[in-house]
């Protein structure tokens, strides 16, 4: 469908953008890459009176690696794919981003847009939660940081206030030798996942798993950490037998919803398979 009518503004600074958001009193939407917002408009799932385009605001498109990996809100998926520093600075980030949408969408879609859209089946919010990333924002009353785990409240709902703008996201520094796995299932490559699993951990001097992070997405209202899996894996030797046991046990009590694409029991089974494959592939990474 053609888009509904709206007013279009393209401020040059963040403070002008915030002023426009304040003036619109909750009726404005921020536009970055538009890859989620434009379909929302076409479907009339969003009918803002004003679109505030961030394309002229400078300083939001940098990838900075100083221990932590900081992505500006307007960094596009293709920027992450092409940044060769990330192959060692955060290989899981690059691996996850390769699964996001399709080629043309990766050329436009942005980090901040995906976070603000908060699709529970999207890869990037899930990665942010799994890795313990921290989101930076700015609003009329100042700036703040929010842990990704606290950022997503439900499907397409976040803690963002109507006048608040995401400026970037920081991923904790990636340790040398860290192992990781990313697996998702979608009927067509590039589509939203029906279920997905993300894993990373370090291996200590005795070959045991440490600082285990396990995330899951495509299941319910928001991406989640699988604490059961994390505690079952922590301190253990990574073996195929353990992975199989954990993948089954960790998915038993996860709250999973039915939707048009798949019922909850199918999703649960799929999540177990994705988690097991993520763990299996992790043992081949990090060397």
């Amino acid at each position: 469908m053609k888009l509904p009518e709206f007013e279009y503004r393209s401020p040059a600074t963040l403070s002008e953008a915030i002023a426009l958001l304040v003036a619109a009193d909750g009726e404005a939407k921020l536009l970055s890459g538009g890859q989620s917002l434009m379909p929302m408009l076409a479907f009339r799932m969003a009918t803002p009176t004003v679109l505030v385009d961030l394309r002229k605001v400078e300083g939001l498109d940098a990838i900075e690696i100083n221990g932590d990996v900081r992505l500006g809100a307007r960094v596009r998926w293709c920027d992450i794919e092409k940044d060769q520093r990330l192959a060692t600075a955060h290989p899981l980030l690059q691996e996850a981003v390769r699964h996001i949408a399709h080629y043309q969408i990766r050329n436009s879609g942005t980090v901040g847009g995906s976070l603000a859209h908060a699709d529970p089946a999207a890869e990037f919010p899930a990665l942010a939660v799994a890795c313990g990333a921290v989101i930076s924002t700015v609003a009329a009353n100042g700036s703040r940081t929010v842990a990704a785990e606290d950022f997503f409240l439900g499907p397409l709902v976040t803690v963002l206030e109507p006048d608040e703008i995401i400026t970037g996201i920081s991923f904790p520094a990636w340790k040398a030798g860290r192992r990781f796995g990313f697996q998702e299932f979608a009927r067509r490559r590039g589509d939203f996942a029906i279920a997905g699993a993300i894993v990373h951990y370090d291996v200590d001097a005795w070959g045991r798993m440490a600082d285990v992070h396990v995330g899951a997405f495509g299941l319910g209202d928001t991406p989640i950490r699988l604490q059961v899996a994390e505690s079952l894996l922590d301190g253990q030797q990574p073996t195929a037998e353990l992975f199989e046991r954990v993948a089954a046990a960790a998915t038993e009590d996860v709250e999973i919803q039915d939707d048009i694409h798949a019922d909850a029991e199918y999703r649960r089974s799929l999540l177990g398979t994705m988690l097991m494959r993520a763990l299996q592939s992790s043992s081949r990474s990090g060397d």
Binding site: M1, K2, L3, P4, E5, F6, E7, Y8, S10, L31, G34, Q35, M38, P39, L41, A42, F43, L51, D53, R55, C78, A101, H102, Y103, Q104, I105, N107, S108, R188, R189, G190
Partner: protein, 154 residues
Amino acid sequence: MMQIGITINNVSYEREVPARTTLADFIRGLPGLTGTHVACEHGVCGACTVVVDGAAVRSCLMLAAQAEGRQIETVESLAGDGELSPLQAAFRKHHALQCGFCTSGILMTMHALLRDEPDVDEERVREVLSGNLCRCTGYQPIVDAVMEAKQSYG
């Protein structure tokens, strides 16, 4: 209404349009470049793919206003004076189209890909092609055509 200037296939177009005009509708409107096709209008099918500043994008998911001052290439830019481009010729040779509705989007996607990655392998072509839906040929002839045409890039 807003005044927007966009360069399409090296020609500048200035036009007053409603803010909600997508890049796809801008291209098809006054310039009359109807080779860019519009189908799903929500970013699923890839038929409307054009090249913006060198990168393939879905023109139904970009506002004309966002393309202000940028360089757009559409399918009309491929063929020289009555001559098919090597990519188009390969599509013809391999029967990589039937009804042709999806073809302009696929051509522009693959044109951008081959320019960026002239050493592309078949797996990468298939991965990128996943962003374009074709409902009649099946994808094998398209992949064959792209793999042949890649010799002309790079």
